[in-house]
């Protein structure tokens, strides 16, 4: 490593996603499928990055904006340009289809503070986002030993899901790194008393069966009809415009 790289690459916090990784679990979805939720490595993240090349073209429900931001965050992750970043994927246990992604990182100033980056779902109507967002909180509070997580939303759907449904507190003097806007806060108290007991599922499904893990590691792909699901237009037709 050159001296320059040494300066540019952040030094991990004492507790970090590398030495305290999220333990994979699975969650039963409405359609009877099982969604494996797991932390992925930098090598695997390289396979996830191309999945976003078409997503950023979707000018609907903030997929373009959030997709572009996530794409940047994933590139930053594989190239070591964010402090203690992690990426969790939700994948169908027997196909590997990626149903959604959540990511975040840890504060350099205060290791008790977690920063939530983004939540994106590729299949609608399955409550994938609701499950994955809570898994992300679980990672921060139960694995990474944070006491609070700073959260913002770009989309109206996100705001309703997180700020309202999870009863997040206003923390408007904290400038969130995503957009520099006033932040909301998930506290340990809210986590222990409400979010964890009421909204966190799949915790009893650990460790996950080896064959599930094998399948989801070998198959990292988007659901076939993702473009149609989000835009209402079949993929080929949608991409003709680009």
């Amino acid at each position: 490593m050159s001296a320059d790289e040494d300066i540019l690459r952040p030094k991990p916090n004492k507790v970090n996603p590398e030495n305290s990784p999220y333990s994979a679990k699975f969650i039963n979805l409405v359609d009877g499928s099982k969604m494996v939720v797991r932390q992925i490595t930098r090598e695997e993240t390289k396979k996830v990055i191309p999945l976003f090349y078409d997503i950023v073209k979707i000018n609907k429900d903030f997929y373009d904006l959030v997709g572009a931001r996530i794409l940047g965050e994933l590139l930053a992750y594989v190239q070591y340009r964010v402090q203690d970043e992690y990426v969790l994927l939700g994948q169908v246990h027997d196909t590997g289809e990626v149903l959604g992604l959540v990511n975040g990182y840890l504060s350099f100033n205060d290791p008790k503070i977690g920063i939530s980056y983004h939540t994106m779902t590729f299949k609608r109507g399955l409550r994938v986002g609701a499950h994955l967002f809570v898994a992300k909180m679980e990672h921060h509070l139960d694995y990474l030993q944070n006491d609070e997580v700073k959260i913002v939303a770009e989309s109206h759907i996100g705001f309703r899901r997180w700020m309202e449904e999870l009863r997040l507190e206003e923390n408007f003097d904290f400038e969130h790194p995503v957009g520099g806007v006033p932040s909301y806060n998930l506290t340990r108290k809210n986590w222990e008393s409400y979010v964890k007991p009421e909204r966190c599922f799949g915790t009893e499904n650990r460790p996950i069966p080896e064959e599930y893990l094998k399948t989801v590691k070998e198959n990292i792909l988007l659901p076939e009809d993702v473009m149609y699901q989000i835009t209402g237009t079949p993929k080929d037709e949608f991409l003709k415009g680009f």
Binding site: I27, N28, L29, V30, D31, G32, G125, L126, R127, A130, H131, V134, H156, E198, R199, F201, G202, E204, G232
Partner: protein
């Protein structure tokens, strides 16, 4: 009185969220019905819609649709009767033709509801409730469904599992309907029995969960009605006769009904339709039931006389109302899966009856050449109900 037929049916693109205007959406369904009928020589257009004046800032939709599609010199009007607007417009179309005033009438129902946030749409639908006795207290339609469901649970032993079973069936049918808003497989484990079901299928109005109720949808549907003595001109077979129509009323405030579990208006509307058609309940091969809430599928089947009171859920448990059962209900997916753009629903129910009777329902076609189909379109919370019977008469 002249006999009346349906010679065209169409639903345009898939229901759910429509990106164009309300009139464009209704035009899609109308053109599809016109193409199916093979004629655009229409005398009158009745548009069924509940709330465009409130949520889309547009009124006088009959005029707008005729203008947009250049259906001149057809005349038209909008018909508003809450969620029963669709079947009400068809009933008025029947009257117009049976009386001899018009020969060919187009009925187009449409509603574009997904422009407004959830609580605003909920409030818009709730304006149908009694203004002083219900609406101001925060009564919404899901809450009325819940109040009815609790009475059903306590009186007849209906369970959440029974309601989930109906939802699973209707989703299953919806998967086979290219027009359906919700095309999503659901399982008992996923929505009710797993631990995760609590988040997958949250309680919205106890004891009703998310999957016990229909979604909020954009959508349109259209039929072309024609007098029987003119139908030969169109060489359209089989001929689908508008065999029976009935309409019944009840008190607006649900609490004023002596027995709120009995839907008197459904009974009145059904009895009238059966009398007009000269048929009995046993003659009906399949039905489209207004399941805005899955509990209503049970209550309406009972109040319409297909099952004894408090017994429909027992037949549902036996699979009798499934696509392959002896009395398929909501082959289209019902409001639960096809969606519920309020003004369009009653017309879409008639489209489904037409397609099933013609043998054109594709993957969800029921076997054995069905001859008679029944539909109930439920307005208000059951204070204004329209029932329709369609029959295949030739071909």
């Amino acid at each position: 009185m002249r006999d009346v037929t349906i010679i065209g049916a169409g639903m345009g693109s898939r229901w759910g969220k429509y990106s164009g205007s309300l009139i464009e959406m209704m035009a899609e369904a109308s053109l599809s019905a016109i193409d199916d009928a093979g004629t655009d020589e229409i005398d009158a257009v009745f548009v069924a819609n509940m709330g465009a004046g409130r949520i889309n800032n547009q009124t006088a939709l009959g005029s707008a649709l005729i203008d947009y599609l250049n259906l001149f010199p057809a005349v038209g009007a909008s018909i508003e009767n809450g969620p029963a607007s669709g079947a009400t417009a068809a009933r008025i179309g029947y009257m117009a033709i049976a009386s001899g005033v018009h020969d060919v009438v187009m009925i187009t129902g449409g509603e574009k509801m997904r422009v407004a946030p959830g609580p605003v749409v909920t409030d818009f639908v709730a304006t149908m409730a009694h203004p002083e006795a219900e609406y101001i207290h925060g009564i919404t339609f899901p809450s009325l469904g819940a109040l009815l469901a609790r009475l059903y649970f306590e009186k007849y032993g209906v369970t959440s599992e029974d309601l989930a079973r109906i939802a699973i069936k209707n989703h299953q049918n919806g998967l086979k309907n290219p027009h359906a808003h919700i095309r999503q497989k659901i399982t008992m484990e996923g929505i009710l029995t797993s631990r995760e079901a609590k988040l997958n299928n949250p309680m919205i109005a106890d004891p009703l969960h998310l999957y016990d109720m229909c979604p909020v949808s954009d959508g349109s549907a259209s039929i072309i009605m024609c007098s029987m003595n003119k139908v030969q001109e169109f060489e359209k077979t089989p001929i689908i006769k508008f065999a029976g129509t009935g309409q019944g009323m009840d008190t607006m405030a649900v609490h004023e009904r002596e027995d709120p579990t009995f839907l008197k208006a459904v009974k009145i509307a059904s009895d009238q339709a059966f009398k007009m058609a000269g048929l009995t309940r046993e003659d009906i091969d399949f039905a489209e039931i207004h399941d805005a809430f899955e509990i209503l599928e049970l209550a309406e089947l009972e109040s319409a006389g297909f099952y004894e009171r408090g017994k429909a859920h027992l037949s549902v448990r036996e699979g009798e109302t499934e696509l392959t059962g002896k009395f398929p209900v909501n082959t289209s997916g019902g409001l639960k899966a096809r969606g519920h753009p309020v003004g369009a629903t009653g017309v879409a129910q008639l489209c489904e009856l037409v397609w099933q009777l013609r043998g054109e329902a594709g993957e969800r076609q029921i076997p054995n050449d069905p001859k008679h189909g029944y539909a109930v379109n439920f307005g208000g919370f059951g204070n204004n109900v329209v029932s329709t019977i369609l029959s295949r008469v030739k071909g």
